[in-house]
């Protein structure tokens, strides 16, 4: 069986068959009355009555095939003609870019350009990627009996694109040519699959609600119509989307009923943000981080769909505090080198007894003297706390520097469990002269 040496009777012709698009172009067409008279001529009542019939005689609708003029190329038949949207569809003019999540569709025609019939044609079409080889078409079980000279055999293949990077459409034909030789024709059509979108997420926890902000960025060369963007929560989570309130005037307008404003993300870097409110339905302290994933469906020209889903989105681990230290009161006037008292409260959030405790100001790493220090014993002893109990106490402090200063590092240490709890966040105070 000879391979590609020598000429082939057959050749593959391939055309990407994504959906067609509307031809849109601002036409150079005018209304006759805008061309042949001054714009204010109709103010003159005689002109207003005499001109229209004259003009109509020259602007008749093209109903007759013997009317051999191209007037429709330069005169408007109807005001809407100026819109430039005739409804004419155009075939895809170039291969274009292919993105992950789209469907690759192609018209494949195998042509016999020789002067002889070819027989027993076995045709195969496959997509070869880095990872795999996917069969799209195989006629080996029932080969095409013959393709006459000048004839063709056509087929259309479809493949959902699920991998990034280099792809090759491999078309092969094995046939008997005019001389009876068995020939093998391989043809390769390469294309690259790119990522159409990127999704950036941010998770914030406010009290018991977790908020997920998702920002979708469009990396393609066309605008994307966001058909559906849905968050699928993981087990134990429920989600609902948070949208901005509509402007009152928009709610009532008639056009709102007919035309829902679409979510359209601009090409080449446009973004759109989505906000979801998530609630955890499980009360156990053993919680996984996984919040769920986003399912995204978009559409391009004439409804051409694309689908992607994100990986699992992780939230911040929710830590239940066992011990909570709060500042209850700080004096409004704090003077330099004068002791002052801060009222604090220690709460036990667990169902067991905790403590006893020690409270101190932790040392920072620098050798500088701290601006605010404990006045007196550097460690304070606190008794045990029963389940869900709380204890008020006062820390006696002194400030050694003027101006805005921070009380940092108030730390609570559980003596029996030998556990240091997260220190209280920094507290700002203003230190004045006496």
């Amino acid at each position: 069986m000879s391979t590609t040496q020598g000429t082939h009777s057959l050749a593959f012709r391939v055309m990407r068959l994504c959906r067609p698009s509307f031809h849109v172009e601002a036409p150079l067409r005018v209304d006759a009355s805008d061309l042949i008279v001054g714009e204010d001529i109709f103010d003159d009542p005689i002109a207003a009555s005499r001109l229209p019939p004259l003009i109509d005689a020259h602007v008749t609708k093209l109903t007759d095939t013997s009317d051999l003029t191209y007037r429709t190329r330069f005169l408007l038949q109807h005001p809407s003609d100026s819109f430039g949207l005739t409804g004419l569809l155009v075939l895809p003019q170039a291969f274009g870019a292919i993105y992950l999540g789209e469907t690759f569709c192609s018209y494949i025609s195998i042509n016999n350009s020789s002067n002889f019939e070819v027989r027993d044609v076995t045709i195969k079409a496959e997509i070869q990627t880095e990872r795999q080889r996917i069969l799209l078409l195989d006629t080996s079980k029932s080969p095409v009996e013959s393709i006459r000279a000048g004839g063709r055999y056509d087929f259309i293949v479809e493949h959902d694109v699920k991998e990034l990077g280099a792809h090759t459409l491999v078309c092969t034909a094995v046939y008997n040519d005019g001389d009876g030789d068995r020939k093998y024709l391989p043809q390769f059509f390469k294309f690259i699959v790119a990522n159409p979108l990127s999704v950036r997420t941010k998770v914030r926890v406010v009290k018991e609600t977790t908020y997920l902000e998702a920002c979708i960025e469009n990396h393609t060369k066309t605008n994307l119509y966001m058909d559906q963007v849905e968050f699928e929560p993981a087990q134990h989570w429920s989600a609902n989307i948070v949208k901005a309130d509509e402007h009152k005037s928009e709610k009532d307008s008639l056009s709102r009923e007919i035309f829902k404003p679409p979510v359209l993300i601009r090409s080449g870097g446009g973004i759109h943000n989505y906000l979801y409110q998530l609630r955890s339905s499980s009360n156990g302290s053993a919680q996984s981080n996984i919040l769920g994933k986003l399912q995204i469906t978009w559409r391009t020209n004439l409804g051409e769909p694309g689908r992607l889903q994100t990986q699992q989105i992780l939230g911040t681990p929710v830590t239940h505090k066992e011990i909570e230290l709060c500042v209850m009161e700080v004096p409004s006037v704090i003077n330099l080198d004068k002791p002052f008292s801060v009222h604090l409260n220690l709460k036990n959030h667990t169902e067991r007894e905790l403590g006893p405790f020690e409270v101190w100001l932790s040392q920072n790493d620098s050798l500088d003297e701290k601006a605010v220090m404990i006045n007196g014993l550097q460690t304070m002893e606190l008794p045990q706390l029963k389940a869900f109990g709380a204890n008020d106490f006062h820390l006696n402090l002194i400030a050694t520097k003027l101006g805005v200063q921070k009380i940092t590092g108030i730390t609570v240490f559980d003596k029996s469990e030998k556990k240091t709890h997260v220190p209280l966040p920094d507290l700002e105070i203003f230190v004045d002269l006496d």
Binding site: R13, M15, L17, R19, H23, V24, E25, A26, L28, V30, D31, D34, L35, I36, G38, E39, F42, D43, I46, A47, R50, L51, P52, L54, H58, L62, L68, T69, Y70, R71, T72, R73, F74, L76, P79, S80, S82, F83, L85, G87, L88, L89, V90, L91, Q93, Y107, S109, N111, S113, R152, D154, I156, N223, Y225, I258, F259, L264, R299, N301, P305
Partner: protein
Amino acid sequence: MDSDTRDFQPEPVSLSADPLSSQFASLNDLAHELASLQDLANRGSWHSIPYKVRRARSHYLLNTPHDHLIYLAYNVLGLAKLRRFKDVITELDSVDDFDCHHYRYETYLKINPNRSGSVVPFSLRWLHALIPIKSGNYQEGLDRFYTLLDFVPGKLKEKQDHDILIKMWRKREHLGNKEFGVCLDLSKDLVSRGNLDPVLLSKLGYIQMQIGDFGGGKVNRNKALVYLVGKDYVSAVREYEECIERDPMDVVAINNKALCLMYLRALSDSIKVLENSLERVPIVALNETLVVNLCSMYELAYVKHSDIKRTLSNWIARVAPDDFDSSSTRI
């Protein structure tokens, strides 16, 4: 009878004798040899128009400001159609400010005793705004369109008592607005964008087009589009065939039907539909988009497609109007 009380009936002035009405008997009454200019434009002989304009000017055949402006309008339109944008800009630069007194009827009371207002044909204003966009100076064009959009509603307000005037200016406002719709990339994309529901899409289009009633053909075309978007090409073809039966010159239905056939793997049939239309109704079928589609199909169907494309291209050169974009044959 007494001579003083003799009945006296003024004779009715016959139509042809009435000096005012004779101004509107034919196109040539409106401007010098206007009928001939209009005929050239109808036939798509745009190359001839700049020639005729130059000749009329150099032979001092244009006597009124009206004549000059009409000829200017045709010239600008013709040069734009031929994509000779440098020449268009030169022509437009030769015009004074549109609102100056030279271009008003009342300045020329001898010619138009009862007329007042602007002599400028509206298409000149529109072309003045459109040309920068067509020749690549998008921002300048957009600015001019904004000015135009301000101008038109002002005129509408002025003319509110006159029905016909309202009709005229509404049409013009329309023109301005729709140009905008096309110019703004986003709305253009929105219209060609795949909304899940193409009925919505065409409704959007139609609302914008302010059409209240749909012709039968248009409704069918919408139905066909719904099928097409749903990939039911068989039904789409059927709908388009109904359109063509109703109007054999519906080039949109013909073109789109051919495309649907191709998506049904019937490439030979789609080629036949388009070739047949060029033979049967060349005046409407000879359209750049249809030719682009046909040539794309040739490239797919024939290994040696340049031959057949050349045959088509030669035929087009013989038959097509001067402004036909020959790059549509993809040669």
